[in-house]
Symmetry: C2
Subunit: 332 residues, 2 copies
């Protein structure tokens, strides 16, 4: 099977929204008047972002999900994406499953594949995603990293640390019961981008980022861009993934023998969570709760933004904890 | 050096055109009212698209050039691009040279780097490029593959076959004098995307494509999309690269002992040329000449579009030649 047949069979579909989709030198997109395009790009490399034996359907899902998560963090509505794919060989069952997983998620978000590239090479998946952001009275409604203000509450959606827990188990560094791995592994392999929550937070949140490298590391970007500091309640953040642990303590069924410090490290520096970390003034607490409720996503208030620069992590008694949980860095 | 320092040092620059550039979850671009965005994406893999020892400055140039060439083929004005980069290691001299080559070409075309991704992995460069296409009376001014009509002239810009000549010499398949290799190698390593010619052809050409996989193969896309056939004058196309050969015949200085068939194969199926192959009605001949002259790009009329489907290649005497020159296919 040649390159053009491969594209036609697995990647060419109707694109009712775009002016022109797959098949010419360029795709054509005409944003609605009074809107901006939000653009983001993520590259996934085998052995770095996923195991060689990852289920291709899940991989197709994840490759798009991590990109949609960037749109979510900007409060942008998904429109379209391009896919560049380097493949070691033409493996039709793999391509069928990969494209199925990718298109299922794309369809769920109304996001069209409008172009891309395929080539031979070590497996590499590069998606660039396009979303719509409205502009009201000349002001972009995008959620940025730069809008956090002292006194703002700090929130995280869903749970954090699960994906890293699964990764560490799969790497043989940790052991947990199969029932726990199953749940955690779904978070690692098929993350659910918080697109509708991001849209609902426009005009409510003052800043946002998606948690991809680890909560504290990603929070650092908000602090740097906003010129503020923050205090994080470590043990409120921990509760995010303590579903298993509390099950454990109550029923003894899923007992996991981790120290509090291990739980903290997973929650605060785990990475690959694709939850939204965001700030909003206390006056918006009801609006945040409503946004969460309307989008069936839990949201947890884990700290606050301070005028004093720097990051403080405290335990339930307000005692300071170390902040040097290591965030993910591809070259560190 | 970590991932964020690397981006800050080599890839973060001011973006006066974009609403928001490198550094947030998404970049923000607001196309001018009444314009479309043309979007294209190319992935370059080491060992497939370039040699491991390729000068990184030239590689930075080429990675962007092949994308700008897609904008040229659509008659789109370059605006911005994203860069995703998988690197085996952080090699600062390599990164400095790569980014220099890329930004030199970007600046020459007013094209801003607005975002991207960096990761560890086998060297892979994926650029997605954005250009502006005007819409007049609801009609996109983009040059598409689908507009060729019977009776149209068929043109190619510049010369074709040079890049393939250089590649075959570097692979040890052909031998030419050093002076010839030097010229041909520049075409392979630092192609000059025909952006201004593409812009000048809006409203003049009926269809266009850039020659990346080989002239006949790329022409095939125009024929398929337009539902037409074509006749190509092989020996007019050959003359494209015969600068060397004719020097040879006149002066004996650059003698290259290729058969006519070898020249034909290079010109018709060479690939990596990044010239524009386009069609225009005979009534536009003066306009095509003017577009070429104004953009210091030669343009050669190499055939015509026929109502009869299929591709015919003929010699100077009008005798039919084989058409099975093999175009580049990553999986063939």
């Amino acid at each position: 099977m040649g390159e053009f047949d491969l594209i036609a069979r697995y990647f060419k579909r109707l694109t009712p929204q775009a002016a022109l989709g797959v098949g010419d030198d360029c795709a054509l997109v005409q944003p609605k008047p009074g809107t901006q395009l939000a653009i983001s790009c993520d590259m996934l490399v085998q052995g770095r972002h996923f195991f060689a034996n990852t289920d291709p359907r899940k991989l197709g899902h994840k490759a798009l999900a991590v990109n949609l998560s960037d749109l979510a963090a900007c409060g942008a509505k998904p429109l379209a994406f391009t896919l560049a794919l380097a493949l070691p060989e033409v493996d039709e069952p793999w391509l069928a499953a990969f494209s199925q997983g990718m298109f299922e998620l794309a369809d769920a978000h109304g996001c069209e594949l409008i172009g891309g590239d395929t080539t031979a090479g070590p497996l590499n998946i590069c998606i660039t995603v396009f979303g719509e952001v409205s502009v009201v009275n000349g002001q972009s409604q995008a959620l940025l990293r730069s809008g956090a203000r002292p006194g703002d509450d700090l929130y995280v959606s869903g749970t954090v640390g699960d994906a890293r827990l699964a990764l560490d188990v799969l790497l043989g560094k940790l052991a947990v019961p199969d029932e726990v791995l199953k749940v955690a592994r779904a978070r690692l392999e098929t993350p659910d981008p918080r697109v509708t929550l991001g849209l609902a937070l426009r005009g409510v949140a003052t800043s946002a980022i998606d948690v991809s490298d680890g909560l504290l590391g990603d929070l650092g970007h908000i602090l740097e861009h906003s010129g503020v500091g923050a205090t994080v309640q470590a043990d409120v953040a921990i509760q995010s993934i303590a579903t298993y642990a509390s099950n454990t303590r109550t029923t003894g069924q899923f007992f996991i023998n981790f120290s509090t410090n291990q739980w903290r490290a997973l929650a605060l520096a785990g990475g690959d969570d694709y939850e939204l970390l965001f700030t909003a003034p206390p006056a918006q607490r009801a609006a945040v709760e409503a946004a969460a409720l309307n989008n069936q996503t839990s949201v947890r208030r884990i700290g606050q933004i301070d005028a004093e620069p720097g990051l403080r992590v405290v335990d339930a008694q307000g005692q300071k904890l170390p902040t040097n949980y290591k965030s993910f860095d591809h070259f560190a």
